[in-house]
Point group: C2
Chain length 591, copies 2
């Protein structure tokens, strides 16, 4: 093999490894890693199964769809992911979004997963990840806090066993309080008990101190048992609640609302539904896409946002780098292939990623174990899920979303930067009306904060021999009207009119609208027999002016030169006035 | 009257005069002004009557609606307008927009005028005129050029007497050429003759030299006749074509398509239609608004844009100032009250404003004469309009829109600023598909050009003792990811890691997302036992940092101080390393 071929081969390998990150860690894989990955995978699996059942309810779909959505991400991310911690799967926020766009129709939800996957793949290939940069932190916080309230409150009715509550948040709050007297005692007692147990275990987990090497074995084992119990708390609570419900069923009475029958077995591998055939009518692909509507933009983007935000948080915490575009590809493939096994759109889950990281996962291989556990549950455990009380699942969701509501951010922003409270509050409150409007309103408000200074830039005015006007942060087309007004006010509208020196040293880029506006100003100054002189032009800005060939355009490098020339001009003008001829054509300085 | 009351009275007068500009010129009104205003008003009237008939056809409405729309603007602008030259009325572009949103339904068009008026008034009261700053010159040029082509080609079928041609531009071009053989000889010959006469008169007007005082009276009179003929060319051509058609009618044959019967008399003064009752169904207000759809944004905004652009052009040419918000109010009132006399949306007309200015108008009072002329035509001449050949009106429109197409702008932008060709071409070509999409696409493309530098700002990196990183054009939230990546690449990812000094002297404003991103960076530097030091913070930026209370935040005013502190730290670190203790807690410089 020649030197050149070898070089090519190396490049090719590097490119492949970038697109298939599994190739970078698989050769180094060790038995110790396997052990840790296995334990982490198992722990995450114990969390994902009850959460998947619960989130499917949030999404308005039959519970088995939660499990259908939980395994594809584990397998795909293992090959394509760049972060060891991330786990893809159903999440609270994504389920909320799916419920607003798929209208409780599994076919629409699966098609949405397929289309989201396509869009995310396209964005990844076109390197469009930078769009996320325009979603500011207050908007994200406003959205997640509102989502936590919406999702959490949505579960209160299930926790209390209330029925026929509308979906819209504000109506939901109203009717939940109206019908509070219809609370079913069994559901309410079980739900509150589950909630308390979950909260206690959550607190216990937070307060476990780190293991030290000097401790005795029994101490370490008991700590490990507490840690495992606390980490697998969701699975334990759901299991216990199920056992209680089963016992009641055996005695013949049933005080709880149960999950009910779930179809047994793995989902079929089949293309997502591109049309829905009902006895009455056929809904074709175009109509389905129209039904989903803005979801086609919101779901892929929020999915991407959630994954990247989580990946960044853990990469920074555990000190490694992630590749946002590669994450986009991994998620795109997961949604695309997921839709072939009836998955609804998935994304990175903050809660399970944290569990994964704390369990000491070493590589994305942990996901294989998680995925296998989900598949096993689907194959053998679905008949047992019949007995899971709905109130227990509601408690699991409430505990999962509670930490997402961050009340402190309001205080922090009040202290640090009050203006940022505006996008936060706009997003937060509009999200209660409709999620996508909240995000759009927030992004637009922060967009206005970005754009307004472009239209009303800071302009420094110094009155010397002439008036020196200096835009301080560049000059782009939205600002040209404002500059013209400023020049008019300062130099042309007063009883006495002045020459103007325009200091362009902070202008690094200029567009044609600005050139045109300046040429209008030049004309007006000539009409008044005054001078408008440019100084401090950067080379490529000067090129643009020269190409435009403005009448009466003059430039100097420094303020001194400009003022000197104005002085000369002044003397020349006084001479000329005796001759009664135009100074502009005679002095010959005009280009 | 006390001194204080007098002061209040003066302020009140000034405020009233600002809102009713008629008060500023009426007291000074003279007989000479009246003479000039009368002539100008008459000349504009001779132009507006044939144009109004023609533009109504462009808007897809019965021809009388053109005249209904032509007089309210004249009266209202006389009281509320700030420019002496502007004439409000139906225009080619507005008619094109109305035809896309009102679907040839006069009721929808009148309602659109009412709603546009309300929106424009609201914008004027809220001082939202600055929105126009975000429409760049290339977008305006692309739109007007595409509109000229669309409107002009739209008339070719009328000029040739072709029938059953679809409305969509691309299909129109296709079918016009397909059916070229069906051309009606009479229409085609008349149309081309009118076109030639109009073009010749237009050229003649351009080439008339200015009058000199020394010329003899006969020369001046003949020049005045030519000027009047050329200025009133539209009225003359339509009149002559009408006479020819009338003569043919008298002989019993009619080779031309005629305008046909027009209802006689003035329009009723009645509220705009808030619902449409047809024999089959009733369309209520909500459905009508839904039908108009995006027109509610596009029509008021483009109307405003056209008026302000024209007002600015003539204000700058004739050396006076206009008040954009007052123009907005004048136009809003015109559309609002116009809808009570069955007007469709109107705006400033470039062609007629130019005629007005050239006729030497002195005050907006000229509009009263124009308005009166339109009312007289409606009252007494409508029966004569029956004989106006459609081909003659088509020729009037083609000549009116031809100057709007500006082919040179493509060459100019190529020479001056090639990047600006992108919004121009996007707007130009997408406008052929649908006008509003063209404008939106153009505004979005120029918006991306504005926003991209905010997300990828120029960052200067200098490698000295430490790495000095300096964002050159401010730092806002879309840029924080990019800054983090830059710092990672420069200082943290190489085999050897460096301290970083962040020079913030160009940062004049900071938001919470940026603060958070910087605090993440600070954490990472502390994890690596490196320093991230800030220099050149402006006072209010420093306040934000202090309020955020970042861990490990240190700032110095100059680079020298920062480097000196790093030097001391370096010495300290080397000392410390022997003690094996953490430098960060010991040196005590950390806040």
């Amino acid at each position: 093999m020649s030197e050149r071929n070898r070089e090519r081969w190396k490049q090719c390998c590097r490119a492949t490894a970038k697109r298939l990150p599994v190739l970078t860690w698989l050769p180094k894989y060790s038995l110790q890693w396997l052990q840790l990955d296995f334990m982490a995978g198992l722990t995450v699996g114990m969390t994902v199964v009850p959460q998947a059942l619960a989130y499917a309810v949030v999404a308005g779909l039959p519970v088995q769809y939660g499990l259908y959505s939980s395994f594809m991400g584990c397998f795909i991310y293992c090959f394509l992911g760049t972060s060891k911690d991330i786990t893809l799967g159903p999440t609270a926020i994504m389920s909320l979004l799916v419920s607003s766009y798929a209208f409780d129709d599994p076919d629409l939800a699966v098609l949405l997963a397929f289309l989201s996957g396509c869009i995310q793949l396209a964005m990844g290939l076109l390197h469009l990840g930078f769009i996320l940069d325009f979603i500011s932190y207050p908007v994200i916080k406003g959205f997640t806090s509102a989502a936590a309230v919406t999702i959490g409150f949505n579960q209160v009715k299930t926790l209390l066993g209330l029925q026929h509550i509308p979906k819209q948040f504000i109506l939901q709050v109203y009717y939940t309080f109206c019908r509070i007297s219809e609370t079913r005692a069994g559901d309410a007692i079980l739900g509150v008990c589950c909630l308390i147990v979950l909260m206690v275990l959550q607190q216990m987990k937070k307060s476990i101190p780190r293991t030290h090497l000097m401790e005795t074995l029994p101490v370490r084992i008991s700590r490990y048992i507490i840690w495992t119990t606390a980490t697998a708390r969701n699975a334990l609570v759901v299991l216990l609640a199920g056992l209680v419900a089963y016992s009641f069923q055996m005695t013949g009475s049933q005080p709880f609302s149960l999950t009910g029958t779930i179809p047994q077995g793995l989902p079929l591998f089949q293309p997502p539904p591109f049309s829905i055939i009902t006895p009455n009518q056929t809904i074709d692909f175009k109509e389905m896409v129209q039904d989903i509507g803005p979801g086609l933009a919101v779901v892929p983007l929020m999915g991407l946002l959630e994954t990247v935000a989580i990946a960044k948080a853990f990469a920074s915490q555990n000190n490694y780098q992630i590749d946002a575009n590669q994450e986009l590809l991994a998620m795109g493939f997961t949604n695309l292939l997921g839709s072939f096994v009836s998955s609804y759109p998935v994304t990175g889950s903050f809660g399970r990623t944290a569990v994964n990281a704390q369990s000491g996962v070493c590589t994305p291989a942990g996901g294989l174990i998680t995925g296998a556990l989900v598949l096993l549950s689907l194959a053998y455990l679905t008949s047992l899920f019949y007995y899971i009380p709905k109130a227990a699942l509601a408690a699991v969701i409430i505990c999962a979303v509670a930490p997402m509501f961050d009340a402190r951010i309001f205080r922090t922003l009040w202290q640090v930067k009050r203006l940022d409270l505006v996008p936060l509050c706009v997003t937060f409150f509009v999200c209660f009306w409709e999620v996508q409007y909240g995000i759009i309103a927030g992004v637009m408000v922060s967009g206005i904060f970005l754009l307004y200074p472009l239209a009303r830039p800071r302009i420094k005015v110094v009155r010397d021999k002439a008036i020196v006007i200096k835009p301080e942060n560049g000059l782009q087309f939205p600002a040209i009207d404002f500059l013209q007004d400023t020049v008019h006010k300062q130099a042309l509208s007063e009883p006495q009119q002045y020459n103007v020196i325009l200091d362009c040293s902070h202008i690094s880029n200029i567009d044609y609208t600005v050139v045109l506006g300046l040429s209008e100003l030049l004309q007006e100054f000539q009409l008044q027999e005054l001078c408008l002189i440019f100084i401090g032009l950067q080379a490529h800005v000067l090129e643009v002016f020269q190409a435009a060939d403005l009448k009466g355009f003059r430039n100097f490098s420094t303020l001194n030169d400009a003022e000197k020339s104005l002085g000369e001009l002044h003397v020349a003008t006084e001479d000329m006035l005796d001759d009664n001829s135009s100074i502009l054509t005679t002095t010959g300085i005009i280009q």
